[in-house]
């Protein structure tokens, strides 16, 4: 999941403060229930959501859904916060997975656990495990999967051929990654073997998480009370990064997440750990996709986002649930993926005939779908997760910049995290 720029926003749906509780210009009119959905889709996805809404409205005459673009998803949470404070908010809203634990704290977010239990037609277990983990906060389930992705190895075939290295295989190890990156690095041509986002944000952390899990480590202890990322597995992962960055100098450190894609497209970077959303940015590169190089395993990390339901009363809640069931059903979800290139959110979609067309249309996407099976672990869904992420991000950034040793940096971050967790969030 990529982050973009700019300031915080907040949004309110409707103007009817005088009318009382407006509720996002929804409501009932003559037996028909009106619901509102907020999203951040533009372009292809924007067209797809409009088409989906139109189709739904046609086939469900008792419900009318209005879809509204709230701007950039980066600011969705602030918009929702202000909307809730203003008393006027939508029925369904697209939110990043990293906010799940915080969203669960507002009484306006609908707990879907009872609905899922009583309504098997949602086929909850058909969703990938990583998605289900991302929406589960304790006993509550606060969203329906909206998007899933994962990190895989995207490589520039031309550069590999020029350097005389065979393409990455499914059994590549960290040593293979390191060796290839070194061979692909050419300082005089300003060419790097690998690129890594080094802005200390979650973008920096989640790539490290994949390495951590591959080495057999974990982010937190099973009881979520202490840091575990400074284990020998974590140190091993951080040392790999340190060696490649400060000894081999084979990593391009991107100070944000804007440059690496264009550099890859311009043939300046050999390999990336990235997700399917970036593929459309490589029109000029002959790229291939492979599962991540591994250590003890080839685990990857998934970054699911969700549709959160907000409570505007019984009628609208029911209507919203009907929409979400329809929208995430295998047929509609496959239609969406085919139009947008997003990964299928349900395992059963791979059996649909449309899936073949999908795989053909998007070069390399099938590896990403298969890779979803490697997304076995998930990041902790805790209210304090962002503080944990920031501590880890600072540590990894320090290691990559050569300003700290792996063990010390991780230990320091772990101490910070333990303090945060001890305060009980």
């Amino acid at each position: 999941m990529r982050r973009r720029l700019l300031l915080a926003t907040a949004l309110v749906a409707a103007l009817s403060l005088a009318a009382g509780c407006g509720g996002g210009s929804g409501g009932s009119s003559g037996g028909r229930v009106n619901i509102v959905l907020w999203h951040g889709y533009v372009d292809t996805e924007g067209k797809a959501i409009n088409a989906a809404a139109a189709l739904f409205n046609k086939t469900h005459p008792k419900i009318h859904i209005t879809v509204q673009n709230y701007g950039n998803s980066d600011y969705a949470l602030q918009k929702v916060l202000t909307a809730i404070r203003g008393g006027s908010y939508p029925d369904i809203v697209y939110l990043y997975g990293s906010w799940a634990a915080n969203v669960a704290r507002t009484p306006h977010a609908v707990d879907l656990a009872p609905l899922i239990k009583s309504d098997p037609s949602i086929h909850w277990n058909d969703f990938w495990p990583a998605e289900r983990q991302a929406v589960t906060v304790g006993d509550k389930i606060i969203g329906v999967p909206a998007l899933v992705d994962n990190l895989a190895l995207v490589y520039n075939k031309t550069l590999f051929r020029q350097a005389g290295i065979p393409y990455p295989t499914a059994s590549w190890t960290w040593d293979d990654l390191r060796a290839a990156a070194e061979k692909l690095t050419n300082p005089s041509a300003k060419q790097f073997g690998w690129a890594y986002v080094n802005d200390a944000s979650e973008d920096t952390v989640w790539r490290f998480d994949a390495l951590l899990w591959q080495a057999g480590g974990d982010i937190l202890t099973p009881d979520d009370k202490h840091a575990a990322f400074n284990s020998p597995a974590g140190v091993k992962a951080a040392t790999l990064l340190q060696q490649m960055a400060t000894v081999d100098h084979s990593i391009y450190l991107d100070s944000g997440n804007d440059n690496y894609a264009n550099l890859f497209n311009s043939g300046k970077i050999g390999m990336l750990f990235t997700g399917p959303w970036d593929l459309s940015q490589f029109p000029d590169a002959d790229y291939g996709v492979q599962i991540l190089p591994g250590d003890q395993n080839h685990q990857t990390i998934s970054g699911p986002d969700q549709w959160v339901m907000l409570d505007n009363g019984d009628a609208r809640r029911k209507a919203a649930w009907t929409f979400l069931k329809w929208f995430t059903s295998p047929t509609e979800a496959m239609r969406w993926s085919l139009a947008t290139g997003d990964l299928p959110i349900r395992a059963s979609e791979t059996k649909l005939p449309a899936y073949q067309a999908y795989v053909k249309k998007y070069n390399g996407i099938s590896t990403f779908v298969q890779n979803e099976a490697n997304a076995l672990k998930a990041r902790p869904v805790l209210v304090d997760y962002n503080e944990i992420s920031q501590a880890m991000g600072q540590a990894i950034q320090a290691v990559l910049l050569g300003k700290a040793q792996p063990k010390q940096a991780l230990d320091q971050a772990a101490a910070q995290v333990n303090q945060v967790l001890a305060q009980g969030g």
């Binding site: 404070r85 704290r105 009484p107 200390a200 600072q394 950034q397």
Partner: protein
């Protein structure tokens, strides 16, 4: 004519009538929201669940927070660099532009362009210019045997790179203020000084500068208020890094409020920033009142 009591009384009334519309609007959209922030700073509030009363504990926590203290230090370093460089630089450029040379209109518009350009575009531009590997800056510096520098990627250089970027982005603003002020200097005053045998530098120091002092005071106060709140440019480039080297007060505040959901704590930070700014401004205005030369 001796002003009578009636006129004196009416001056108070007139003063208040004149300021009333502005005051009402600013109270509504400025003072009242700040009151809300004060209340927020006394709460443990994540803007999602119901808040709990915190009393002064947010402030007590701030006093012991090393990250907060570091962000104060960085903000002050930034401000102390930004204000003199941008105001001084703007004066120099304004003097260059205060003439009848050809293309003057073009130059003035050019200098103003960065001010009108969106922060997003500016951030992308500087990210590229100062990229350690691919940027033009290191390329040019390499030609004269300097560098390569890390700029935004080097924790020791990042804050200074931000100073450079923001000076570039705001210079034009100060320039037009100075240009407007320079219009107010009557040519006969300058002629008189020249006739008196003053050198160009002497005229500048003893005639022009004092006459520009109201504008200078304005720019110093205004730039300080802005510099203490710098955020946008950091958000689109370094994101507070690397290694928090550019985490200034508002960035820390933003992080606390919207990434970590500690809105009450962020409000406390905002109020401390407010006090710091107020102290700076009051001192500057007080010094200004004594040293600024308004026309007789």
């Amino acid at each position: 004519m001796r002003p009578g009591r009636r006129i004196l009384g009416s001056e108070h009334l007139a003063g208040w009538v004149f300021v009333l519309p502005a005051t009402v609007l600013i109270v509504l959209f400025g003072i009242i929201p700040i009151g809300w922030v004060v209340v927020l700073s006394l709460q443990h509030n994540d803007l999602l669940a119901a808040p709990t009363w915190a009393g002064l504990s947010n402030y007590r926590e701030l006093a012991h927070d090393p990250e907060f203290r570091d962000s104060v230090r960085r903000t002050i370093v930034y401000t102390v660099l930004f204000v003199p460089i941008s105001v001084g630089g703007a004066l120099a450029v304004a003097l260059l532009l205060h003439s009848e040379i050809r293309f003057n209109r073009f130059y003035r518009t050019a200098v103003f362009v960065p001010v009108a350009t969106s922060t997003v575009a500016t951030g992308i531009l500087f990210n590229w210019l100062l990229d350690p590997t691919y940027g033009i800056a290191n390329y040019l510096l390499g030609k004269v045997g300097l560098g390569p520098y890390g700029f935004f990627q080097d924790p020791d250089q990042a804050l200074y790179a931000i100073v450079a970027m923001t000076v570039w982005g705001w210079l034009g603003f100060d320039v037009i203020i100075y240009l407007a002020a320079l219009q107010g200097i009557p040519a006969d005053v300058l002629e008189a000084a020249a006739l008196d045998g003053a050198t160009r530098w002497g005229t500048f120091r003893h005639v022009v500068l004092p006459l520009l002092s109201p504008a200078t005071l304005f720019l110093v106060v205004w730039s300080t208020i802005n510099a203490l709140q710098v955020f946008d440019e950091i958000y689109v480039t370094t994101r507070g890094g690397p290694l928090q080297a550019t985490t200034v007060l508002v960035y820390e505040l933003y992080n606390q409020a919207f990434a970590l959901f500690h809105a009450g704590y962020a409000a406390a930070i905002a109020l401390v920033l407010f006090l710091i700014t107020l102290v700076f401004s009051v001192i500057q205005l007080w010094v200004g009142n004594r040293r600024v030369h308004y026309s007789s």
